[in-house]
Point group: C2
Chain length 288, copies 2
């Protein structure tokens, strides 16, 4: 299975973002579809997928972002000033477990873009107002002219491996019994491999060596993130916990990982949900 | 050889960034070293490495960023309002070819952080002034309290492979005869694998399949970037060039790559410099 939030069927159509004539034609296309949202949360149709509105339902004052094309039909989302705290919204986790993969990918892109716009209404360089341009894939400062683009924050997420076991940890805000792969933001001046080793050392006090990249996933909560999943060889297994970051960490066997992924009665911890890359990573590790 | 700008010997000492007492001790440490810079460019010592000043040479009004510790000695860089356009500074390319790898990694981190601070003096959310906090690893808005952190923009850089040959391209701003791997910013809502396939399709019109991650590198020019190097299987080899992005693209053999990397007389193009990850990627491809 592909990681969650990947596999969008939309063509991002980068070529029309700077082409005023082509973009104007898309804005006027009667087949245009507008993503239905409740604040930042997805709205689910009776049959389980995303809800799309027609352009006729727009008031005309909305600022639109071009999500992409499908069979030539433009798909937009309207900018909204909503804020979301996903950790306080159990409804969204239920919705995500019901959304088809392709719809989750579209929703993730839309949510990331809206949050990015809301966090960049002013220019970081000079403090003046910015306005949306490039079909919603940028903002430009009305004063200094600086162009701002919606990018993503890389996060490394990894399993340290030692003697056939893998290291998982839990934060105090996790539901009881839940464990996941350790993770942290990559900082300026380091490679993926260096960030993986630094984070494991900071959070669990374990020195690591060779890093193997496994897979990646866009993550649309708390801003746009790029989750980069790796396995890394640990040099020792003595855990020294950073209790500011983690409440607990432990070494698990492949059998324990399998039981957790299958939600078996015999499981020793609860695994992350299938749409989280930690799930894909645990599965990859447990089955190879 | 490790990719350029990796291998910093400094301990980033994340633990002291939020610890006012420990950080105050570092600021008052007479052994503190301050990185010498000329604007945003490195200053080279006679023996070829970076120049460091003592804390006694500070005026006291500088805003400092903690780069990290080495043998317990704090290493700082002072925030400067300099701007740099690396493509117009041949001097920096010469300097980079002379800097030891460890020094290049320290310099890259410092430059990325300074550029990040300069681009975030105002809060993107509310437009008010921000101030430096967390030992220079963040800025906080004086009005709305939003915390901003120095992260990095992921860029995919890749060789499409078809029938034993790899695709390289050149932008019109490159020096004559220079070719490199194709590259582009990863966008919100896509994985590394999806971004690799999209960029190759956008720039060269080639459909690609399976992506193999090779290595990564921090890149300190034009803001902090994370270069993610991959090889991807092309489904066909007919190039349709996006002339807004590329001036030319062509398929090269492993022999051609080797000749270019060795700067041989017989080379059919000029390879990127050793500190660029495109160099590491070409070398990896040509020798495996």
């Amino acid at each position: 299975m592909s990681p969650g939030f990947t596999g969008s069927p939309l063509d991002r159509a980068d070529r029309v973002r700077n082409d005023a004539e082509a973009y104007g034609a898309l804005l006027g296309d009667w087949r245009a579809r507008i993503l239905g949202l409740d604040g930042l949360d997805p709205v689910l149709a009776a049959e389980g997928g995303l809800v799309w509105h027609s352009a006729a339902e727009l008031s005309g004052s909305e600022e639109l972002i071009l999500l992409g094309l499908s069979d030539g039909k433009p798909h937009f989302v309207a900018l909204a000033e909503a804020e979301g705290d996903v950790f306080r919204s159990p409804a969204i986790w239920r919705a995500l477990s019901m959304l088809p993969a392709e719809d989750a990918a579209i929703y993730g892109t839309a949510r990331s873009l809206i949050e990015w716009h809301n966090g960049h209404r002013f220019c970081g360089k000079c403090g003046h107002l910015t306005t949306l341009f490039r079909a919603g894939w940028g903002r430009k400062c009305g004063n200094c002219g600086k162009e701002h683009f919606p990018r993503t924050d890389p996060v490394v997420i990894m399993l340290a491996e030692y003697d056939g076991k893998a290291l998982v940890g839990r934060q105090s805000r996790f539901p009881p019994g839940n464990y996941s792969a350790l993770a942290g933001f990559l900082e300026p001046g380091e490679s993926i491999e260096e960030a993986v080793r630094r984070e494991i050392h900071e959070e669990a006090g374990i020195t690591c060596g060779k890093v193997r990249y496994v897979t990646s996933q866009p993550w649309p909560f708390g801003g746009a993130q790029l989750m980069i999943a790796c396995i890394v060889d640990a040099v020792d297994d003595a855990i020294t916990l950073d209790t500011d970051e983690l409440e607990d960490a432990k070494w698990i066997s492949k059998e324990e990982a399998q039981a957790a992924l299958e939600n078996a009665e015999s499981r020793t911890f609860n695994a992350p949900p299938p749409f989280a890359i930690a799930h894909s990573l645990l599965k990859h590790w447990a089955t190879t």
